[in-house]
């Protein structure tokens, strides 16, 4: 199956699934019992883990063989961007600084 076709199936399946999550309590309008602490903590970990699992390899690995490249332009630019994100909490600033950094680093480190 082509990526395009798979993507459409994801659009529909993830779309319907996401709506189901949203509608879960709102449509039933039950007053939900408090979630047990275990579930609450588990839910809290999900965004941090999922985003880190994507950002980590994206910044630390590069090239065709997925070789570990610790001091690559990607890693350094990503590190700078992380500091900006931490300090300024602005998505716009993070992207701007990160893109400028990677273009600058790739230009200076590969000439």
């Amino acid at each position: 199956m082509s990526r395009a076709m798979t993507a459409w199936i994801v659009v529909v399946a993830a779309g319907v699934g996401t709506y189901a999550l949203r509608a879960s309590f709102m449509v039933m309008a039950h007053r939900a019992e408090d979630l047990p602490p275990f579930l609450r903590e588990l839910l809290r970990m999900i965004p941090a883990a999922a985003l880190a699992a994507l950002a980590g390899p994206a910044l630390l690995r590069g090239g065709e063989q997925h070789q570990l490249a610790l001091w690559s332009p990607r890693f350094l630019a990503g590190f700078v961007a992380l500091m900006v994100a931490w300090k300024f909490r602005s998505l716009f600033a993070t992207i701007l600084v990160g893109l400028v950094a990677i273009v600058a680093l790739e230009t200076f480190l590969t000439t």
């Binding site: 659009v11 879960s24 309590f25 709102m26 309008a29 999900i46 941090a48 699992a53």
Partner: protein
């Protein structure tokens, strides 16, 4: 001003952060060799930034369909919490209205509405405030997506625009790391995912995510019991 208008007004300041995110969502789709229609499809069907980017990243690395959909829904699980906590405030509205409103349940609309409902009591038009937030955000999101998708096609390949996607992950990641368990969850997830990134079908990502969730939850529960 109507409740809807007040919702729209209160939401507007957050658009500064939302619009770049939407642009990245559109951009990511075309950078992953998907069409502008795909980009719009994702933003209309899912209307959830982080999950959209996760799904697109997994598609770009040719993960299995089941893994992609499951991971996207896992990322969106917090919507169930939002749904549960906002539902009691909307009991007086008809089910069909609540069903429509549910589509617009996003972080900002949820947060603002909750603040409002706790401050302003017994308002009959609660659902309209919520919709004011949600619809405004939806319009901005769709417009931003289209801009991002078109920009992705126009900008030359030398500019590494797809780098904006991991940058967005970082920017959204930072506010979610608030204590040691969440920090550990993130570090474990990143470490495991990076070490296993050569596995086929990008299995490293869900494996890393699950590892991070498990270790983080274990740490958080351990701290509670002390």
């Amino acid at each position: 001003m109507t409740a809807f208008g007040q919702g729209a007004r209160d939401l507007s300041p957050t658009l500064l952060g939302v619009v770049p995110f939407g642009v990245v969502a559109g951009l990511a789709a075309v950078e992953a060799d998907l069409s502008v229609s795909h980009a719009i499809g994702f933003s209309v069907a899912m209307f959830a930034g982080a999950a959209q980017l996760v799904a697109i990243e997994l598609l770009a690395s040719d993960s299995q369909l089941v893994v992609i959909v499951t991971t996207a829904l896992v990322v969106n699980l917090r919507l169930v919490m939002y749904s549960a906590s906002i539902a009691p405030y909307l009991v007086n509205h008809r089910r069909r209205d609540r069903a429509v409103a549910a589509y617009f349940l996003v972080d900002q609309a949820y947060a603002l509405s909750l603040i409002r409902y706790q401050r302003v009591d017994g308002e009959d038009l609660r659902i309209w405030y919520f919709l004011g937030c949600g619809v405004t955000l939806w319009l901005a999101w769709q417009a931003a997506t289209v801009v991002g998708a078109l920009a992705g096609n126009l900008v030359p390949d030398e500019v590494p625009l797809e780098f904006a996607v991991p940058l967005t992950f970082l920017a959204v990641l930072v506010p979610t790391v608030v204590d040691r368990p969440t920090l550990v969850a993130a570090l474990v997830a990143a470490g495991v995912a990076t070490s296993t990134s050569r596995l086929p079908a990008n299995l490293g990502m869900p494996i890393g995510t699950s590892s991070g969730i498990l270790v983080g939850t274990a740490l958080a529960m351990h701290r509670r019991s002390r």
